[in-house]
């Protein structure tokens, strides 16, 4: 697949760039959060070495299948969350998007602004037509992020995914098309 070139995105008070193992300590603290462990788990073993390696994998966009961004406070440089575009299919021009917000950055619109910024870049730079977002129906915070980032609700998939709690959940499917209006 075509490698994807690294990019940095400025989005108001947020800065998005490929992950760096320099933020591994904050990334570890984020991944240890129970909500994140339940809905969007990181590596199986959560220690600093594993999370450094996880950051490095996130920064390796060479196989063209994903583009993972750390979302940072543009002023302080602190990690606030991440947004990952994955399952990128340049032929079919589609991808999936996922996101996490660190416990210390919640309730400030970090995920929705980050997802909107990455989506805008992906529709332009990668020529995508459609990006999907899946979340467990009971994860209503994720539903709000999707709606605020312009991802329309398309359906409810029954018992479609086993999440970090090892339980099978119904999911909402949301998607945003290149031609959809900005939220």
């Amino acid at each position: 697949m075509t490698p994807i070139e690294h990019v940095e995105i400025a989005a108001g008070r947020l800065q998005l760039r490929p992950p760096s193992d320099s933020e591994a300590a904050d990334a570890l603290a984020m991944l240890l959060d129970p909500d994140i462990a339940r809905w969007n788990a990181g590596p199986d073993r959560l220690d600093l070495d594993e999370v450094r390696a996880w950051c490095r994998r996130g920064a390796d966009w060479s196989d063209g299948g994903h583009a993972t961004f750390s979302v940072l406070d543009a002023t302080s440089g602190r990690l606030l969350g991440n947004v990952s575009l994955h399952k990128i299919d340049r032929e079919q021009q589609d991808a999936e998007i996922g996101y996490r917000v660190a416990p210390w950055a919640r309730g400030q619109g970090v995920a929705s602004a980050g997802v909107a910024a990455v989506s805008r870049w992906a529709f332009g730079a990668l020529d995508l037509e459609r990006i999907e977002a899946y979340h467990a129906v009971v994860n209503v915070a994720s539903c709000r992020v999707a709606e605020k980032a312009g991802y329309l609700f398309e359906g409810t998939l029954r018992q479609s995914y086993v999440y970090g709690d090892k339980r099978r959940h119904d999911e909402h499917l949301h998607a945003r098309l290149a031609g959809d209006p900005d939220p």
Partner: protein, 377 residues
């Protein structure tokens, strides 16, 4: 960042039997038929994966790539009687963590509108839930493909949503897609296939689906004391009961549990008897036969001929393996019918039938698809 990787250890294509068809591995000799499927306009429109196939060599490559791909399970669909390739069905996008997969299918243009897709999807779905232990199978089709939508609904795949502009079919147009899914825990874990009633030729006789206007003939026929003697639900008290009896036969066809026919003289259409298959079990591939002959038509081999024809049809068209019948011991005429039609006596089952004068033992007869053919006189 949910990982949805498709990995699977499936290597060998298992043989799966369905109603009137068999799912099995691809063969090199299928190339010409595969190409006929691939170049058909409807396939071109709705099956982008087959779009690149333009020669038999392409078809051979396609078959061998699909067979070698451990992330997929692709079957050739063959007519169980003739062995002819009539379609394809496959599972892909396996997710072992979620025990889920997606199903895809296609039917040869000469074999459409006969329920091939539904029967193939049902066989593959049954295999996926029972043998592969999957929990969820998605079925995704372009919104304009109404035939596929009908297959999804009839096969028990619940509609879940419309994915907008979801798939480029290779025609440069991105299509909206319906997503349907069936869960192993959905009611009636194996979808029953409602059938359109069909007639069967049996030489001088014909087995034809009962029609609403048969009520009066039916009422008169089952007033015969010998029929009522062996069937405590008969005779029927009035014309409304006869209409109700006919309606229940139509329900059996529609729900997939039973198939029923009037047996008539093929030339005159005159009523000779009744033939039925009930308790149709698609998992064990077994059914139960029953019959009666109108008083004026007895002693002419009507029931053995009708039973033979219906049983052969159950083996070839319904994919049944075993058809049984039971008759009370005193009903020796029925025992002769069973024997003539190749139903071996297996057992005497005690007090299994409640007649008007009390419980009666029955003979259990059965005929298997693998039993030698019987030659009727």
């Amino acid at each position: 960042m949910t990982a949805r990787t498709g990995v699977s250890t499936l290597r060998k294509t298992p043989e799966v039997r369905g109603e009137g068809l068999v799912l099995g591995p691809w063969r090199a000799a299928d190339a010409a038929r595969v190409l006929e499927i691939a170049t058909d306009p409807a396939t071109r429109a709705w099956s982008p994966s087959m779009r690149p196939l333009n020669t038999e060599a392409d078809a051979l490559t396609w078959m061998s790539e699909r067979t070698a791909n451990a992330d997929r399970l692709d079957w050739a669909v063959r007519d169980s009687a003739s062995g002819l390739l009539i379609g394809r069905v496959g599972l892909h996008r396996f997710d072992p963590g979620c025990r889920s997969a997606e199903i895809g299918y296609g039917v040869h243009p000469a074999h459409r509108r006969r329920g091939v897709a539904l029967r193939a999807v049902t066989a593959a779905t049954t295999h996926a839930f029972t043998t592969l232990n999957l929990a969820r199978i998605s079925l995704v089709h372009a919104t304009g493909n109404s035939a596929s939508c009908a297959v999804a609904s009839a096969g028990g795949f619940a509609f879940e949503g419309v994915e907008r502009s979801s798939l480029d079919h290779g025609d440069g147009v991105r299509h909206d897609m319906h997503r349907h899914a069936r869960l192993a825990t959905d009611a009636g874990a194996v979808p029953r296939i409602g059938r359109t009633p069909v007639a069967i030729n049996a030489g001088d006789l014909a087995l034809r689906p009962w029609a609403p206007e048969d009520a009066e003939q039916l009422l008169a026929a089952v007033a015969d004391p010998l029929i009522a003697r062996w069937n405590p639900r008969l005779p029927l008290p009035d014309i409304d009961a006869a209409r109700g009896w006919l309606a229940s036969k139509a329900t059996g066809w529609a729900g997939g549990e039973a198939c029923s026919w009037k047996v008539v003289d093929a030339a005159t259409g005159e009523l000779r008897g009744s033939m039925g298959l009930r308790c149709i079990d698609p998992i064990d591939r077994a059914a139960v036969a029953s019959y009666w002959t109108v008083a004026g038509a007895r002693g002419r081999g009507v029931a053995p001929a009708a039973l033979t024809a219906a049983t052969e049809w159950a083996f070839t068209e319904l994919g049944m393996h075993r058809v049984t019948l039971a008759h009370v011991l005193a009903n020796e005429a029925s025992c002769r019918v069973a024997t003539k039609a190749g139903f071996l006596l297996e057992a005497t089952i005690r007090d299994s039938c409640l007649l008007r004068d009390g419980f009666s033992d029955e003979h259990l007869h059965a005929r298997l698809a693998s039993d030698p053919r019987v030659g009727l006189p």
